[in-house]
């Protein structure tokens, strides 16, 4: 596809996105408005992540794309192909070989390194959105660091359910300042948000970019007497036997038989290979 610029977006657009990324890195957790473009895939399919990836990719990069932790999920395949066609970059399924990883809903099990960038696809960047539908209001709340509503919500969860009833997109506080939506990753992944790699978050439809520089302090919101608890299915992987990885649950027969396997397919396959 020679009729499109490298990685599809024109250089002016990439420059605009890079400026938003830099601003995001300078103010970790702050949602930077950006002039999101209409992409050739629908909003909701990762247009924010795709634009961020397009802005950071160089011809020397090796790209990995995962959805639900897996490289072979249809939308991961589609996005990977998009960059193969428009950027001609090398692609990989190996977490360790990738320099840029675009993800939806998961952080790889393998710890990321300082020379890697992970790009998250974000549907609703505003952690306060379902408490306050108005963007005008939530921007004010962030400016005033007014997060009382969020704590009340968590408290109400505890009074109603005896536990904080948020299992994914679990809100975090960044460097003691901004409350941030880590995208819909399971809360199991929250502790990994403090990492060596650069983390970039792109929300295309909502026109927001935010970022975490390496080793930014990320605290999952909780109470002293109800501390944050990451959780996963209480099983081990039926393929590689891992007891520490996040698991997908499969229904295997009409009787409702269940099987649990690693959601991170590269992690699982690597363990099987290493075991020989």
């Amino acid at each position: 596809m020679t009729e499109y610029n490298f990685a599809y977006l024109d250089e002016q657009t990439k420059r605009m996105i890079r400026r938003a990324i830099l601003k995001g890195l300078a103010i970790p957790g702050y949602q930077v408005p950006f002039a999101s473009r209409e992409m050739p895939m629908p909003y909701g399919w990762g247009t924010g992540g795709v634009q961020v990836s397009a802005a950071v990719l160089t011809p020397d990069d090796t790209l990995k794309v995962i959805d639900q932790g897996a490289d072979d999920t249809t939308n991961a395949v589609s996005i990977r192909r998009f960059f193969q066609r428009t950027a001609g970059v090398a692609v990989t399924e190996k977490t360790t070989e990738a320099s840029v990883i675009q993800t939806r809903h998961r952080i790889p099990e393998q710890a990321l390194r300082a020379d890697q960038i992970i790009v998250y696809q974000v549907p609703i960047p505003e952690p306060l959105r379902f408490l306050e539908p108005s963007e005008v209001e939530t921007r004010k709340m962030h400016a005033l660091e007014d997060y009382g509503l969020m704590h009340v919500k968590l408290y109400e969860d505890i009074s109603q359910h005896g536990a904080i009833a948020t299992a994914y997109a679990y809100p975090v506080k960044i460097e003691g300042r901004y409350v941030m939506d880590p995208s819909p990753i399971p809360k199991f992944d929250n502790p990994k948000l403090e990492m060596a790699a650069i983390q970039l978050f792109g929300a295309g439809r909502e026109q927001r970019i935010y970022a975490l520089p390496p080793y930014t302090k990320v605290v999952s919101l909780d109470f002293d007497d109800y501390p944050f608890q990451p959780s996963k299915a209480d099983h081990c992987c039926a393929i590689c036997g891992s007891t520490t990885s996040y698991l997908d649950e499969l229904i295997t027969d009409d009787a409702g038989g269940r099987m649990f396997i690693c959601s991170d397919t590269d992690y699982c396959a690597t363990r099987v290979e290493d075991a020989g």
Binding site: R37, P42, G44, T74, A76, Y168, Y246, D248, E249, S263
Partner: protein, 361 residues
């Protein structure tokens, strides 16, 4: 070993091949051309151009063909293509007073200079299926009148001269481009109108209808509805003057709405405005009503909490490409999130059962 989790790549290829076959349909039926779509499904083409924000009937026809007649999908194709186009600059404002009108009606004056011209409207057709059309779609000879010469003055101008309508002086500044800068609130009226002209027809219609039924009622008279072609002119810096670069068809709707006044100011009618690519009058009228409803603050009206008054609600939800993308994305895999919810609900139920048991003992 369970392997159904593999195969995404092959599934996509097969899906695309099947889709192409379905698009073509029965091979015994001749394929239709994009020329036929452009000429015979012109109103669909117009909607795709309006909501796709790109005035190109041939591309819109191609998009409709490729999208199998799904107009939102066609609009999406046009939008995605549009973003790849370089922006050379802006045209001069089009002069709708100089429109060569195919249709021009006023609901407020029985007659006015330029006259009432029905044009090619469905308005007074009886909606009876024309079975003859199934066999023979040829149109008979139509009588032609000489086109009106000279500009057709806007009806609003007559009210304006009497100071009966709230004035709308021309602004100097160039409005921001909705497609080049993120939408931030509060938005100027120019930006709101940009959003509305590309907004989903159905959404705009529903919003407008809600104002008619009392959710921020602002009783609208259609002072004028005109459809026709206007020249698009652009100033070429190297030349130092404007030249005509093309002609487009537009639908313009101006509404006269309920007046207001105070002790110091005599009452004046207020305005709503709709301007849409192509022959798209349902959309243009809807747009004018929603525009008027959104102006409650500047006109000193009360916020009665109606959806059509809520700028954020209207502007953030009127775009069908954004809406359909986010809506349909919920069919994509969400097993990771669902799994975390499963864990949570199992745990909460376990805890609740233990608590209930303890209470019973």
């Amino acid at each position: 070993m369970y392997v159904a989790v593999k195969g995404g790549e092959r599934a996509i290829d097969n899906a695309h091949a099947w889709l192409a076959e379905e698009r073509r349909g029965n091979l015994a039926v001749p394929e239709f051309t994009t020329d036929q779509i452009r000429e015979q499904l012109a109103l669909a083409v117009n909607r795709v151009m309006a909501e796709g924000s790109l005035y190109d009937p041939d591309l819109a026809a191609l998009a409709i063909k490729q999208a199998r007649g799904d107009l939102i999908e066609a609009i999406f194709l046009i939008r995605a293509y549009r973003t790849t186009l370089p922006r050379f600059g802006g045209s001069l404002p089009v002069d709708t007073a100089n429109m060569a009108c195919d249709r021009r009606v006023s609901a407020t004056f029985k007659d006015a200079p330029g006259g009432q011209v029905l044009g090619p409207t469905f308005d007074y057709t009886h909606r009876l299926l024309d079975f003859k059309l199934a066999a023979d779609g040829e149109a008979g000879q139509v009588a032609e009148a000489a086109p009106l010469q000279g500009p057709t003055p806007h009806i609003m101008g007559f009210l304006d001269r009497e100071n009966l309508i709230q004035p709308e002086p021309a602004g100097e500044e160039t409005p921001a481009d909705l497609t080049r800068a993120p939408l931030e609130l509060p938005a100027s009226r120019a930006l709101r109108l940009q959003a509305l002209t590309r907004a989903d027809e159905g959404f705009t219609l529903g919003m407008a209808y809600s104002t008619q039924r009392g959710y921020a009622r602002n009783h609208a008279f259609v002072a004028e509805l005109r459809i026709g072609t206007v020249a698009v002119e652009m100033e070429i810096p190297e030349l130092g003057f404007a030249i005509e670069i093309g002609e487009i068809t537009l639908t313009e709707c101006e509404t006269v709405n309920q007046f207001q006044g105070s002790k110091t100011q005599p009452p004046q009618f207020t305005r709503g405005y709709g301007l849409v690519f192509g022959m798209t009058e349902r959309k243009a009228i809807s747009m004018a009503l929603v525009d008027r409803a959104l102006r409650w603050k500047e006109l000193g009206e009360d916020d009665i909490g109606a959806p059509a008054q809520d700028e954020e609600f209207v502007l953030y939800h009127c775009d069908n490409i954004q809406a359909t993308g986010f809506l349909e994305h919920i069919k994509l895999p969400h097993y990771v999130d669902f799994q975390s919810e499963l864990e949570l609900i199992r745990k909460l139920r376990r805890d609740a059962q233990v608590a209930m048991q303890e209470a019973a003992e």
